[in-house]
């Protein structure tokens, strides 16, 4: 039995030893505390976001780091004219704000580094396009995982939406990253206003436009347009968003190669051709027999 007791004693010693090791390195927590305080101040000030420059970037990402850090390298200056940067910026801030309100504090920080303030970092990371988004996982502490390599967010695959970004972070952190999109009151009020306006207009104008609504031809036109659009591959354009036309050394290519492929203009041409053919069949059946003599029927022309 002594062996067992000894083993337990040894185990207890071991636990204490490890605890002591953690306590002994007291300088580290101090540094960490200072960094965290600084970060949290920034977060308070900037609505969940840490505004970075080259020095701060290096400081916050330096070794004792028990938090994850996600950095957006962007170029918002008007001289650079980076359209996707402007598009993604509010989405990024939205996720940061939601995290500040609901998420665990001091676990994940959102940093923004503008090209103006951090050319060195752009060069260091070999980034010559913006925006680029990097996720740095926590290296130590309770939230650290086995991966310590930073991960680059894939904009071309995931897109610029806050939802995709939040789900990406959720995957990495292993906790739900909340996302609360504030309702766009202006849009709601506007749409309600227009809805009421439209209803009122219909109510007022109904006696006038009643003929249009009740006319067969209106409905026939609507139906035929829908059908022609669909059979000429409009849905395909909608889903795959092909180029409208392509040019090849000055020549315009109207027709895309391949069986399951088409250009925007190509499908419109096809729709028009189908429409013309259908029109020809209908007029051959309906209009021509109403013409009064042979010659007129031959040319399909009523003088």
């Amino acid at each position: 039995m002594t062996v067992k007791k000894f083993a337990i004693f040894f185990l207890v010693c071991l636990i204490f030893a490890t605890l002591r090791i953690q306590y002994s390195s007291a300088a580290k927590p101090l540094l960490l505390d200072r960094k965290l305080r600084k970060l949290n101040e920034q977060v308070q000030k900037h609505d969940g976001v840490v505004e970075l420059d080259s020095d701060l970037f290096d400081e916050f990402l330096a070794k004792p780091r028990n938090y994850s850090f996600v950095v957006l390298l962007t170029a918002l200056d008007s001289s650079i004219n980076c359209h996707p940067c402007k598009e993604f910026d509010p989405e990024f801030r939205l996720v940061a704000r939601s995290w500040e309100k609901i998420g665990t504090p001091s676990r994940l920080f959102f940093g923004i580094l503008d090209y103006q303030n951090g050319r060195e970092i752009f060069n260091k990371l070999k980034q010559n396009t913006a925006p680029s988004l990097w996720y740095y996982p926590a290296i130590e502490g309770p939230f650290a995982k086995d991966v310590s390599e930073p991960d680059k967010y894939d904009f071309s695959n995931r897109g610029f939406g806050a939802e995709e970004f939040a789900s990406y972070l959720t995957n990495h952190l292993g906790v739900q990253v909340p996302l609360k999109r504030p309702p766009n009151y202006f849009l709601i009020v506007l749409s309600v206003f227009f809805l009421i306006g439209a209803l009122a207009a219909i109510k007022l104008l109904f006696p006038l436009v009643r003929g249009v609504f009740e006319s067969k031809n209106t409905w026939a036109a609507i139906s035929l347009v829908i059908i022609l659009m669909m059979i000429s591959g409009h849905m395909w354009n909608h889903i795959r968003t092909p180029p409208y036309v392509t040019t090849n050394g000055g020549n315009i290519n109207y027709i895309a190669g391949g069986f399951q492929n088409q250009y925007g203009l190509e499908s419109q041409i096809v729709a028009i051709l189908y429409g013309l053919c259908a029109f020809a069949v209908v007029s051959l059946t309906v209009t021509i027999p109403k013409l009064e003599d042979k010659m007129k029927q031959r040319f399909g022309w009523e003088s």
Partner: protein, 719 residues
């Protein structure tokens, strides 16, 4: 007088004969695959249907109903009875039993192979009946002829394509016919038949129904209409008991209250979980970007892709522009059945645009409407009663009664049958003789008739030619047997799939578990009769992702997954030698995507793209790609076949030289053209080394001291 019959009977006889011929053509043009190859079940899903039908025939209905299939989705199994679409199996089993009762010992396989062509003949008849309700019998015959050969329908109903669509399209068209009939006559007899055939159609297209229609959002609209009808009937009842003013007040209040109540009840039930929200497949029909983002497994199926215009034209040819014309002509008459046709046309064309697969439901209505259009045209141009050389008096009397054409006039064509007693047809002059200028003259010149007539005969001829060509070249391949043509024009049959499955059947243990990508699950179960991990019934995304992860991982990680799932053999499809582009390396990205969806930490799609963002094999492949067992298995021993450096003929790339080494899998069988490769998963080492060490020892390497010794594969040692 021909055959001693009067004109009416002659027309009826002609119609029967023509319909019979159309049915024969419909069946005949679907037999290309049998003539070229042999009487064999095609593709993937049909193999499952065939397997279950065999089970039904040999074990009886009750056993079939309670069948739990433990040989698929290992180790989960599948409740077949509750998840299968029973319509098609029961139909073939009934045919089989009837034939056997009459002492025709037909094999169940031949019934299954020929079921779809048989039902396509029925579809032609159903399309005839439906179109008769919409216009007349001449349009009906045209519709029957169109649907008999339209490639859009043939694509799913050639001999051997034993799938639900084979009978479901017939049931769809016939149910619509019965419904219109019931609507027109208001008779309970037709209504009952409609319900019966609707039930049959549901049995062919939907698994166990249960209370699903009352509990999923997809069905709420239909259920709401049903409720509305009850309210309508109730209101009609109340109306008879009340005065007008009282009724008005009550009616308005009632409408308002019931609408609010029903809507809030619906919202409440949805939120509280009684009514399931929309399913993914349904979302992908409306929000077309949905599937790509959230359910790669739906987006990965090729028949769920949107339809570009060439496919529409390929599948329907000239019908595609007669379709809008026919729809317009339906608007001119606009009775109840025409409204139905128009609505069907619009919705079907939308859905066919979203998914290639739904072209199938568009085809019947396209055939019907274009038959209507073409038949109006032919009516106009072949109507000899309006020719100019006729005496003036006679002409006028006939024009004003366009529809009551005298049959004796031209008994040659069946379209002049006297059953054509529709009133108010578009061409008849609405304004009678009062007005001086006639509304309708008909076609006066014989040359005009000739030109138009010849033109459309030419169109029809081209149409038939196109349909036959498409059927023969595009839709008649069984896809388990491939054909290629040699330089001298000789036909060469590539039968690797069946070779491999037969090898599995004969050379492996009955209880062996086979891992392959889900596409081949049904075929392995059907032809090799071995247990599979995943199959084409993709109900469990996680399990499929596990298989994808195993194939995308390096050997050590994969070995652990394979061992944990008791896998004995891994089967892959490799087209590099032959240039068969539907192989697993080309499908690999989907496997990775699906695996990443479930295991984002273990599998990363971007690791399979090189620095330039390309998905490549050979020298430019990424290390992750090169270490994945899929890559290793595909190209194992491939260089040696070429005696040095091999070329992949699908991707047109030269491979990197050097031997591919594997220590956890060994090649068990490779078919004649290398399309199917089967690898055996090695057992654990006898003396407890890892397989990597054992392989190293075999090669004469010394075991380094201090190497960690552990049973099984080592994890996290990925490169």
């Amino acid at each position: 007088m021909v055959l001693g019959l009067d004109a009416q009977n002659q027309a009826a006889l002609l119609k029967v004969v023509i319909l019979g011929l159309i049915a024969a053509v419909a069946i005949g043009s679907r037999l290309f695959s049998i003539v070229r190859y042999e009487s064999v079940i095609h593709e993937f899903d049909p193999w499952f249907n065939y397997r279950t039908t065999r089970h039904l025939v040999s074990n009886g209905f009750y056993d079939f109903w309670n069948w739990f299939d433990e040989r698929s989705w290992y180790p989960l199994g599948r409740v077949v009875g509750g998840t299968v679409y029973p319509g098609i199996m029961v139909t073939s089993a009934v045919i089989h039993n009837i034939l056997h009762a009459l002492n025709f010992p037909v094999d169940i396989r031949n019934i299954c192979v020929l079921l779809a062509p048989l039902f396509s003949a029925f579809t032609a008849v159903a399309a005839y009946l439906l179109t008769v309700e919409i216009k007349d019998s001449s349009a009906g015959l045209l519709a029957a002829a169109f649907i008999g050969v339209a490639p859009g329908y043939i694509s799913r109903s050639v001999a051997g394509s034993y799938d639900n669509e084979g009978i479901a399209i017939f049931l769809l068209v016939f149910t619509f016919y019965l419904w219109i009939k019931a609507l027109k006559l208001g008779s309970a007899f037709w209504g009952a038949w409609t319900a019966l055939f609707y039930f049959y159609m549901v049995a062919a297209w939907v698994p166990f129904v249960g209370f699903m229609p009352t509990r999923t959002s997809e069905h709420m609209a239909a259920l709401g209409i049903f409720g509305l009808l009850q309210i309508f009937a109730f209101v009609e009842l109340v109306r008879t008991h009340l005065s007008t003013t009282q009724f008005q007040i009550l009616f308005r209040g009632f409408i308002f209250v019931s609408f609010i109540a029903m809507f809030s009840a619906l919202v409440f039930l949805t939120y509280s979980g009684y009514i399931a929200p929309w399913t993914g497949r349904f979302y992908s029909l409306w929000d077309t970007g949905y599937a790509k983002k959230y359910i790669p497994i739906i987006a990965s199926v090729s028949e769920h892709q949107p339809t570009a215009w060439p496919s529409f034209f390929f599948d329907l040819e000239m019908l595609i522009f007669l379709f809008p014309a026919g729809t317009y002509l339906c608007f001119r008459e606009l009775r109840d059945e025409h409204v139905f046709v128009i609505l069907y046309g619009i919705t079907a064309s939308y859905f066919a645009g979203v998914m290639v697969r739904l072209m199938l439901t568009l085809t019947p209505i396209v055939c019907v409407t274009s038959a209507v259009a073409l038949s109006w045209l032919l009516d106009t141009y072949l109507d000899v009663s309006t020719l100019e050389f006729l005496p003036e008096e006679q002409e006028r009397s006939q024009n004003s009664s366009f529809d009551n054409k005298v049959p004796e006039k031209s008994g040659k064509r069946e379209k002049h049958s006297p059953d054509k007693t529709k009133k108010g047809s578009q061409n008849s002059s609405r304004i009678p003789d009062k007005k001086k200028k006639k509304e309708y003259y008909g076609i006066l010149g014989i040359d005009t008739r000739m030109i138009i007539g010849m033109n459309f005969i030419f169109f029809l001829w081209i149409f038939m030619w196109h349909c036959t060509w498409v059927t023969s070249t595009a839709y008649s391949s069984p896809s388990i047997v491939l054909a290629s043509r040699g330089a001298d024009g000789s036909n060469y049959i590539i039968d690797d799939f069946r070779e491999a499955y037969y090898w599995l059947r004969k050379n492996t243990d009955y209880s062996a578990k086979i891992l392959s990508w889900w596409d081949y699950g049904y075929q392995i179960a059907g032809m090799a009769d071995r247990t599979v991990l995943v199959d084409n019934n993709t109900w469990n995304n996680t399990h499929i992702a596990t298989v994808g992860r195993a194939l995308a991982s390096d050997e050590n990680v994969a070995y652990e997954i394979l061992r944990r799932h008791d896998v004995d053999y891994v089967l892959i499809i490799f087209g590099g030698l032959l240039g068969y582009s539907g192989d697993d390396i080309n499908k690999f990205l989907w496997m990775i995507r699906i695996a990443e969806g479930v295991y984002p930490d273990e599998v990363k799609e971007k690791n399979f793209f090189n620095d330039r963002g390309e998905y490549r094999v050979g020298d430019e492949a990424t290390p992750t790609m090169r270490n994945s067992i899929m890559y290793k298995m595909s190209y194992y021993n491939y260089n040696e076949l070429f005696g040095g450096q091999a070329t992949d003929r699908v991707r047109g790339t030269r491979l990197s030289p050097g031997k591919i080494k594997m220590h956890t899998l060994e090649e068990a069988y490779t078919t004649e053209n290398w399309i199917v490769r089967i690898f055996k998963v090695k057992d654990l080492d006898n003396i407890g080394r890892t397989l990597e060490q054992a392989a190293g020892f075999e090669l004469g390497k010394k075991r380094r001291r201090g190497a960690k010794k552990r049973v099984g594969g080592r994890r996290n040692k990925s490169s």
